[in-house]
């Protein structure tokens, strides 16, 4: 198993290297002259040349790339092109906010989707199971930002129970923090929960057809205890994979939801940087998100090995 983990780790490192080259090439090489893009077409030749010299954009690309990677590894990606603000602290601040949002959404999604999915599977021949299944299909089709707008319409505009946006750090005011967290988290969780519940349903349906479950029933176990004791661990394998992928989706989905609720997270930073042509910030944030997604996928693979002993022997 250690060997397999090492192999996955090597794949992760290679993927990180390749994607960093891709991001660098896209943001720094494709535009031709990043200084010109940052300053706009109307900027004078002198100011463009000055920026090129200041940020070392006139050096060989390989040198620039290595410099950039070194900056990322030491958690100091430098300063922005235009505002000259340090990029690292901004990302760290915004990442905290997004982490709260994504974590809350993931917990809500799992807490709702697992029981809901099991229920849909167990009752799949009954009216309530079919209706629940149809409901989850509708949930999959509602984009997070639409759910967000509908939640605002009901709970902020009509009922006036919750603020329609903004952010308060938990240390400053825990109650206000929760009041502002709940709607963004729920709107992200609704869609992800609906998707996850479909996977839970299909995984449990597969398990229900297995011989070992029939054996457990034959030994006299009632349906639910049989499923809980013998089935869920097996059903968990595909579901954990999907959960990992969803964590990555949530991270990116948060970009849109943060915009709807004016939450100062990593997504807002990204969109603001795009609007202000702060290419270095865009480049750094994109890389942070890609690293997060790749690392999450690696962790899921590792968990896979832990959950399913059949994968450990290496003999597939």
């Amino acid at each position: 198993m250690a060997l397999r983990l090492l192999h996955r780790l090597a794949v992760l490192l290679a993927s990180l290297a390749v994607s960093s080259v891709a991001v660098f090439a896209f943001m720094r090489v494709l535009p031709g002259d990043p200084a010109r893009v940052a300053l706009g077409v109307n900027a004078s030749e002198e100011s463009v040349a000055r920026m090129r010299a200041e940020f070392g954009l006139d050096r060989p690309l390989v040198e620039q790339y290595l410099d950039w990677v070194a900056g990322l590894l030491t958690l100091d990606p430098g300063v922005e092109f235009i505002s000259r603000a340090a990029i690292g602290p901004q990302i760290a601040d915004r990442l905290q906010v997004t982490a709260w949002l994504v974590a809350a959404a993931m917990v809500l999604a799992v807490a709702a989707a697992v029981p809901f999915g099991i229920w849909m599977a167990v009752r799949h021949r009954h009216v309530d199971g079919v209706l629940a299944s149809a409901l989850s299909q509708v949930g999959v089709a509602v984009p997070a930002f639409l759910a967000a707008i509908l939640l605002i319409a009901v709970f902020s505009v009509q009922l006036g129970w919750l603020p329609s946006g903004g952010w308060v750090p938990p240390v400053q005011d825990p109650v206000e923090f929760l009041r502002r967290l709940v709607m963004p988290a729920v709107s992200l969780a609704l869609v992800q929960g609906a998707v996850l519940s479909r996977y839970v349903r299909s995984a449990v349906l597969d398990v229900l057809r297995e011989d070992y479950l029939r054996t457990a029933r034959a030994k006299g176990l009632r349906p639910m205890p049989a499923l809980v004791r013998h089935g869920l661990r097996n059903a968990a394998v595909p579901v954990v994979t999907v959960m990992g992928l969803q964590l990555a989706t949530l991270l990116v989905g948060a970009v849109v939801v943060e915009r709807v609720f004016v939450v100062p997270g990593i997504g807002s930073l990204l969109l603001d940087s795009v609007a202000q042509r702060e290419l270095l910030t865009v480049q750094a944030v994109v890389m942070v998100l890609v690293v997060a997604v790749l690392v999450i996928n690696f962790v899921v693979d590792a968990l896979y090995l832990l959950i399913d002993p059949r994968l450990r022997t290496g003999a597939r």
Binding site: S15, S19, A141, P143, I149, I152, A153, D206, A248, L279
Partner: protein
Amino acid sequence: MSRRRINPSLVIGGALVLLVVGLALLSYVWTPYQPMRVLSVEAYQTPNAEHWLGTDRLRRDVFTQIVVGARTTLLVGVIAVGVAALVGVPLGILAAMGPGWVGTLLMRGTDILLAFPALLLAIMFAALYGGSTRVAMVAIGIATVPSFARITRSGTLGVLRTDYVTAARAAGRGRPAIAVRHVLPNVTGLVIVQASVSFAIAILAEAALAYLGLGTPAGQASWGRMLYEAQSTLASATHLALIPGGAIAAAVLGFNLLGDGLRDWLDPRLEGR
């Protein structure tokens, strides 16, 4: 073949998709009012006989925008998914039938590409070139390639294990001939199902991008854009958000159900999963 039967997902999904396609086609020959035209009528009208879905803040007819928006949505979907399939399917077949190292390399490549979802790609493009419908199409297209490559690869591996491929090999057929004569026809079903599901994802992505101002620009009809514009007047005119929101959800639901229904119809063993 005889076990193939029409299932509810196929019927409901097909009907919703036909409705969206019908609206989009209709928009080429007839719209109630000139698209995006500012009319000399009252703003914020609720649905009525004159304006079937009301009017918006700028006194434009909402039904006209929905009809023309369907065209935008489908155009982005068709081009993005079409290009993704044209690139992804051959790559998938190559990954399965080519030398081992090519397959490994291609699959690792798709793994890495999966870390760049459509939204992230579109943001990267928009940072350099500004947002547009074309940026949305390209970003969604690139991001959709991995799913086609993967589904085609696994389908191809299945076909390669069948007896008729062994027979074709024994008869001296080369790999390209087997790929075209045996593999391609047998993975078409999988690809069609994937296209339907990808289409749903493309619609979601297009709406999100337009909402963020990175896709279809202001002044052109787009469901995501309509939602964005409706958000500031949620209190006084909730229907302006509900109508495009409902259109997006209905279109996505339609393509998802159609995909599910097609999968069950093409492979009855999977039914109910």
